[in-house]
Amino acid sequence: MLRTLRRAADRRRQAGGDFGWLFNPYTGNELVAIDCETTGLDPRRAELVSIAAVTIRGERVITSESLDLRMQCPASLDGDSIRIHGLRSVDLEGGECVGDALARLMDFVGNRPLLGWCVEYDVAVINRQLRPRFGFDLPNALIDVSHRYAREMRRKHPELDPDRGFESMAHMLDVPVMGRHTALGDAVTTALMYLRLQRRVLRVG
């Protein structure tokens, strides 16, 4: 409810701005899978380390059209998160400032729907950075594969309690995990999981 109101307000405010076109409804058949690596798991505090996005067109994951952005080293980058995504402050040297990165992300994504595994979290982190800089939240439609997966599982195997963990989902959908804990790898894997779900293939094991 609040989100809808906010979006309406954002839309009116941005109507004449650079990103006004993001608010147009999307009619094509493409999706964009995104994934972010962050410094923590709390969307109110975590900061972006890298963002990746990859296009899904029809039945294909167009890995040749993808975006892989690394940020400038955020202050809260510490050992705990480095252990997960493997990006040290050295690796982030020459990274982009958050504003430029977000602008590039929006240029890439456009008004296409966003797909992700627990995509709400990623979008929340992005929006926290986006609103102070550009004055709006991402207006795109969101598709969460973990919800889709849970729904599909309930429909086919109501007796099972679905484990929505990333790896176990990949296993159940028989999708190879590509470069786990790199933003682009996770985005590609998410895209593959989505394609599998569209085909309603589930493996119970």
Partner: protein, 605 residues
């Protein structure tokens, strides 16, 4: 950033930039079970690399049972030919849900333009691809370390030491007797070296008499090493001092000599050492010890990327020497020189690599009386078993009187086999056709072979029966699909090796070709005009590939003792994608060859 494996050919033919293009340019797609990836007649838009899953290649013009002509699995690549030809000749259909990388046509063409070697890969024939595989493997250099770490003591010969009073004439006799190239002459605590060259110079150039003590021409400034030093250190010493042998000393006493030729042979292959041991063996026990080292030699040769053909030749010669030597130990004059011991089957063709069953027979001249022949032959078979040649399950051994006989008896047997033409007779003829003399009078076998050709070569009916056996086992073109479990594998011996060997044998019989090894027969058939050189080449290469795959499997199982492990099935999934590619092509060659055979010998019905 995708997980595409670019460590296999053809991607190894690109440089890092090219591989980066591939990584940045591929897309991913899923194909459901039975979904058609690329249909016959469709233009090729992508090169497909399978990340996971299985894809079948189907010839839509054939009936359902014969349609399947190829099979691709994880890591394999297909669709490139369709791009080069403009459209796909066959249908590619997913046999399992498959995840594929799609390399767009434009990028593929760009890669082909930029990297000629990459483009060449898709136009190559089997023999060229096999070369690639060998190169790929030798880069590993797995056992090279073993050679680099060899110590002097592993390669030295016992020194030939003579006293200071020895004359030149005695020294020469001594050298000849022990098959050495140099000797040491001792005087007090000092030792001097005399080489054959020194002797030659002294006798011819300086004109010294033969009774002169050898001490006068000896060199006392010797280069010496310790037995525990690395062999390559000895090599370095030789190079530095420009000598071709060094003396190995321990506590100021000479314990051995290392010759340059020995070191070089040792580094190039250990064959020399094994053959040296065989030649120098003076008792059966020593021979048994030497012969037990041959599997290790094969392993070393393979690791170095020695072409299988040469390795087989070497091993064949070595096994022949071992048998001949054992024969001499066991059989007395005059029998050992007047009779002819022959080996048959794969040993006769010189194509066995590890020790196979002993298939052997004996030809006696018509005018020889040998009362205790039977006992001697039983003893000989037992000795071969001790040396690691397992007994033949079909009892084709000299201990079986059916495989021992005088020339007349053998001729009668051949006539009987030719007349009967039943399964056993045909098999016996095939076995005898591959016979190769290893000891004694080889002329006996030659004359027997002549009469064999005389009674078979023109006999179309016999040839036709003979050739039919080559078609007995179907060629497993569908590498995995038809099997219940993938680990059942395919039988490479029946499906690949046997049809080639037997088919070539039939052609050799038809044309009275004397050599017994399949590769030599192929060459002779090309010379004869029976086969064209290109096809013979491919057949030979296919055979080498099968033998090599089989050998590698045998080497891996060398230490397994469980009998059910000892079959000749090949689990295709364990091969690299290039090897699978080669296997696929080789099996197609076999199929082609079988078709030619059935056409030539009218076996269609």
């Amino acid at each position: 950033m995708v997980d595409i494996d670019l460590s296999q050919p053809p991607f190894t033919l690109l440089d890092e930039t090219g591989r980066e293009w591939v990584r940045g340019g591929v897309d991913l797609a899923y194909f459901d079970n039975d979904e058609i990836v690329l249909d016959a007649g469709q233009p090729g838009e992508f090169v497909y690399v399978i990340h996971k899953g299985e894809i079948a290649e189907l010839d839509t013009s054939m009936s359902r049972s014969q349609a399947r002509i190829g099979h691709y699995t994880t890591g394999d690549l297909f669709g490139a030919i369709s791009i080069l030809n403009g459209k796909s000749r066959y249908r590619f259909q997913a046999e399992q849900e498959s995840l594929c990388y799609l390399l767009p046509k434009a990028l593929f063409e760009q890669l082909c333009d930029t990297y000629p070697a990459f483009a060449e890969f898709f136009r190559q024939r089997l023999s060229e691809k096999a070369r690639l595989l060998t190169e790929h493997r030798t880069q590993g250099g797995v056992t090279m370390a073993g050679f680099m770490l060899a110590s002097v003591s592993e390669c030295m010969r016992n020194p030939l030491v003579v006293s200071s009073q020895t004359s030149i004439a005695q020294a020469v006799a001594e050298l000849n007797h022990s098959q050495a190239d140099s000797l040491l002459v001792g005087e007090g605590h000092r030792f001097g070296m005399v080489t054959k060259t020194d002797l030659l110079n002294a006798l011819v150039v300086e004109g010294v008499s033969q009774e002169t003590p050898v001490l006068t021409i000896a060199h006392f400034a010797l280069v010496s090493v310790r037995p525990d030093q690395y062999l390559f250190e000895a090599l370095v010493d030789m190079t530095r001092h420009q000598v071709s042998r060094v003396v190995v000393t321990e506590a100021d006493k000479p314990v051995g000599v290392v010759e340059l030729t020995d070191v070089l042979s040792y580094f190039s292959s250990r064959s020399y050492v094994v053959s040296l041991q065989v030649e120098q063996a003076t008792s059966l026990d020593e021979l048994v010890r030497a012969s037990s080292r041959t599997p290790e030699l094969v392993q070393a040769l393979m690791a170095q990327g020695v072409k299988l053909r040469f390795a087989m030749g070497l091993l064949g010669a070595l096994n022949g020497r071992i048998m001949a030597k054992a024969w001499r130990f066991l059989v007395d004059e005059p029998y050992c020189d007047r009779t002819c011991l022959m080996v048959m089957g794969s040993e006769g063709r010189g194509e066995q690599i590890l020790k196979t069953d002993q298939d052997n027979g004996l030809i006696l001249p018509d005018d020889l009386e040998w009362p205790d022949c039977r006992q001697r032959m039983d003893a000989f078979t037992d000795v071969l078993i001790r040396m690691g040649y397992p007994p033949c399950p079909g009892n084709i051994m000299v201990s079986n009187p059916a495989w021992v006989g005088t020339q007349t008896e053998w001729r009668q047997r051949i006539d009987r086999w030719v007349a009967h033409r039943d399964g056993d007779s045909l098999m016996n003829l095939a076995i005898l056709l591959d016979a190769h003399a290893v000891a004694g009078d080889a002329r006996l076998l030659e004359s027997l072979r002549e009469s064999l050709f005389a009674s078979c070569a023109g006999n179309e009916l016999l040839l036709s029966y003979f050739a039919r056996t080559a078609l007995r086992f179907s060629t497993p073109l569908t590498l995995f699909g038809t099997l219940k479990k993938p680990q059942h594998g395919i039988d490479i011996k029946k499906g690949g090796i046997f049809p080639i060997v037997h088919g070539v044998r039939t052609l050799a019989l038809e044309r009275s070709i004397h050599p017994t090894s399949t590769l030599d027969r192929l060459e002779a058939l090309v010379e004869d005009g029976r086969l064209d050189a290109r096809f013979a080449d491919d057949l030979g290469e296919a055979l080498s590939l099968f033998t090599e795959l089989r050998l590698r499997q045998q080497l891996e199982r060398l230490h397994d003792t469980e009998p059910e492990q000892q079959d000749s099935r090949l689990v295709v999934q364990q091969l690299s994608s290039l090897e699978r590619d080669l296997l696929r092509e080789a099996l197609h060659i076999v199929k082609d060859f079988k078709q030619r055979l059935s056409h030539r010998f009218h076996l269609e019905y």
